[in-house]
């Protein structure tokens, strides 16, 4: 299967997603928006799934 990006970049992007998710929950709490663990995990799964879908989607499809 050909990826739109290299596995290494994908790994780094997934790691960044996790990190943003953890820190975003804290940042949102400071402005009065509290995300439950369940909601945080759901957002994380959705974000990483979207990232993986983008990566495996053939380049040029949908254009």
């Amino acid at each position: 299967m050909r990826l739109r990006t290299s596995p290494a970049k994908l790994l780094v992007l997934v790691a960044l997603c996790l990190v943003v998710l953890v820190e975003l929950r804290t940042a949102l709490a400071f402005v009065g928006v509290s995300l439950s663990i369940g909601a945080t995990v759901a957002v994380g799964v959705a974000a990483i799934a979207a990232l993986l879908l983008w990566a495996v989607r053939p380049a040029g499809s949908g254009e």
Partner: protein, 582 residues
């Protein structure tokens, strides 16, 4: 060094010496990481394999093995590589070089023995005093003797590098100091100036007191002397990481260092600014006037300057490398960086965490806001982002490039190495985010039992249970990552009959030493200015502390930390009652 040759080919004896330093470092990393895992699981009450009374032995071991032994053994290896490679000459006398390594190993072994003996009752030696060994907590004299011998070893290492440079200078009159050697020499100047504080604290006060030669000491004085050294030691851990960012990262990115002069300025700023700031660790200490603390805070804020200069230079160098590799656009050049390379990715992620941790450091340094987080879990959160990642992850990533150069072997498991550095990045963010949030609501550091009966912490988001789970998950990921790193290093060491992918050459900077003023290389001048700044910052506070509490304190006896708790309580109560009766 001939083209295509590794460091091990050009300098086999020196490579063996550096490998020995790295193995001592990696052994310490393994032991320290193991104690870190025990701690993370214990204080979160997820898995308790030790008694809470033993927690301080574990905590002391975790601190000393990682921030003293792991970091400093690694940095002497890196510095030896940097000096030998950039001066293109071996040390003047390898027996001397092995001598200081032997002293460091002896000192580390003595201190390690004093700490680890705390796990058994069959040996009457204890050192449950944590990495900061604040008096009146008292350790066995072996603990202090080991530290002194270790530090003397590092002093001699510095003397060895100065000797190499002087020999090179004799053969190359008028030449600018090669940048890697310049970085080593300036770092060692800072180390000499700052470690005098801890040497005086131990040799003049704490060691004689632990040997019962003196009956008392002044804890404010020894704490102040400790922090005189305690803040610059952070830069002693960090500057080898800076060296790798300046020297290695641009090459790994595919380019060249953006500016040699800026790098020199940064290291000189650390010589000048890193020592007269230590009192910012003592904002809550009684016995030091607020004015001195305010001056220390102001000095500390100046330290942002070299860090910001570094961020600019390193990112500019990375962008240059990416554009050499075909990267284009305002941000798209980021995708052209060699993310497959664990050495590059590890250092880049370490730099990212360092930037974040730097902002949390501003909170620590600010006198008023420090009161919110002082002695809370926030502080270990900060140290784990800075030393535990900016330095430690850079060292591990650097090892993925350096160890093949030092062994002549190809790195085993390049893909796994990438997973390892990414795991560390994720683990540290999980763990430190929990620590920072816990610290903000006042969860204390350095305790096995952070939860109190009849009291609930009001966490901004989630609960203490969630924070604990996050801390334990992060700590476990970090442990797995550390073990993976060690396994890859062992496998690489035995991967004979192979060759490293990369050659050992370091390309010259885009703006080289010829663009920097010659005064930057005038080390005597910077030493003199640094000494004046230290005298200005510390003479009045020290005089004030001594005039209030005396050199040897107002009859402060030791607090042995590993004795029968019941008898201590009984004795303290009796003393209190007798004082009241009198």
């Amino acid at each position: 060094m001939p083209n295509g040759a590794t460091f091990a080919d050009a300098y086999p004896t020196q490579a063996r010496h550096i490998r020995a330093a790295f193995w001592a470092s990696f052994l310490s990393l393994g032991v320290g990481a193991f104690f870190g895992l025990i701690q993370a699981l214990h204080r979160t009450d997820i898995l308790r394999v030790i008694e809470s009374q033993t927690y301080y032995t574990v905590l002391t071991a975790h601190g000393v093995f990682l921030v003293i032994s792991f970091t400093i053994f690694f940095l002497v290896g890196v510095f030896q590589w940097a000096v030998t490679d950039s001066l293109e000459r071996p040390p003047v006398d390898m027996r001397f070089t092995w001598g200081w390594y032997g002293l460091m190993s002896l000192g580390a072994s003595l201190t390690a023995f004093a700490i680890l003996a705390g796990f058994t009752d069959s040996i009457d030696v204890r050192a449950n005093v944590l990495f900061t060994f604040y008096a009146p907590l008292q350790a066995h004299p072996l603990f202090y003797v080991g530290l002194v011998v270790f530090v003397v070893g590092t002093w001699l290492a510095g003397a060895d590098w100065f000797r190499s440079w002087l020999a090179w200078k004799g053969d190359n009159p008028g030449e600018r100091i090669p940048l890697p050697t310049f970085m080593v020499l300036t770092t060692m100047i800072m180390w000499y100036i700052s470690s005098i504080g801890v040497a005086v604290a131990i040799l003049a006060f704490i060691l004689p007191w632990s040997l019962e030669l003196t009956g008392s000491l002044n804890p404010t004085l020894t704490r102040t002397l400790f922090w005189y050294f305690g803040h610059p030691v952070v830069y002693f851990w960090l500057l080898p990481a800076y060296l790798l960012w300046y020297i290695l990262l641009p090459k790994l990115a595919g380019g060249r260092l953006f500016s040699d002069p800026l790098a020199r300025v940064v290291f000189i700023l650390f010589v000048l600014l890193s020592t007269p700031v230590g009192i910012h660790h003592q904002y809550l200490d009684p016995g030091i006037s607020e004015g001195f603390k305010f001056i220390a805070m102001t000095n500390t804020m100046f330290l942002l300057l070299p860090s910001l200069l570094t961020a600019f230079t390193i990112i500019a160098s990375m962008e240059h490398g990416a554009r050499q590799r075909g990267g284009e656009g305002y941000f798209n050049w980021l995708t052209a960086l060699p993310w497959r390379d664990p050495a590059f990715t590890g250092m880049a992620l370490a730099g990212m965490v360092f930037a974040f941790g730097g902002f949390t450091g501003i909170v620590n340094a600010g006198m008023n806001i420090n009161y919110l987080v002082h002695n809370t879990l926030w502080v270990p959160g900060h140290i784990h982002t800075q030393v535990g990642t900016a330095a430690a992850l850079t060292f591990m990533a650097g090892a993925y490039w350096l160890v093949p150069q030092l062994t002549g072997n190809r790195l085993v498991g390049r893909g796994l190495a990438l997973v390892q550095v990414v795991l560390w990045f994720v683990g540290i963010v999980f763990m430190t985010n929990s620590m920072y949030r816990g610290g903000l609501v006042g969860i204390p550091r350095r305790t096995a039992e952070p939860q109190y009966e009849g009291f609930e912490y009001e966490v901004a988001a989630g609960s203490v249970g969630e924070l604990n789970a996050q801390l334990a998950i992060g700590g476990t990921i970090l442990f797995v990552s550390a073990m993976l790193f060690l396994a890859l290093m062992v496998l690489t060491a035995f991967n004979g009959g192979t060759e490293p992918i990369d050659d050992g050459s370091i390309p010259p900077a885009l703006s080289g030493p010829e663009d920097s003023p010659a005064v930057l290389d005038n080390l005597k001048l910077w030493v003199a200015i640094a000494a004046v700044l230290v005298v200005i910052a510390y003479s009045f506070p020290l005089a004030s502390i001594v005039s209030r509490g005396g050199l040897f304190g107002p009859d402060i006896g030791p607090i042995p930390v590993a004795i029968d708790a019941a008898s201590t309580v009984a004795r303290t109560a009796l003393e209190a009652v007798s004082a009241v009766v009198r």
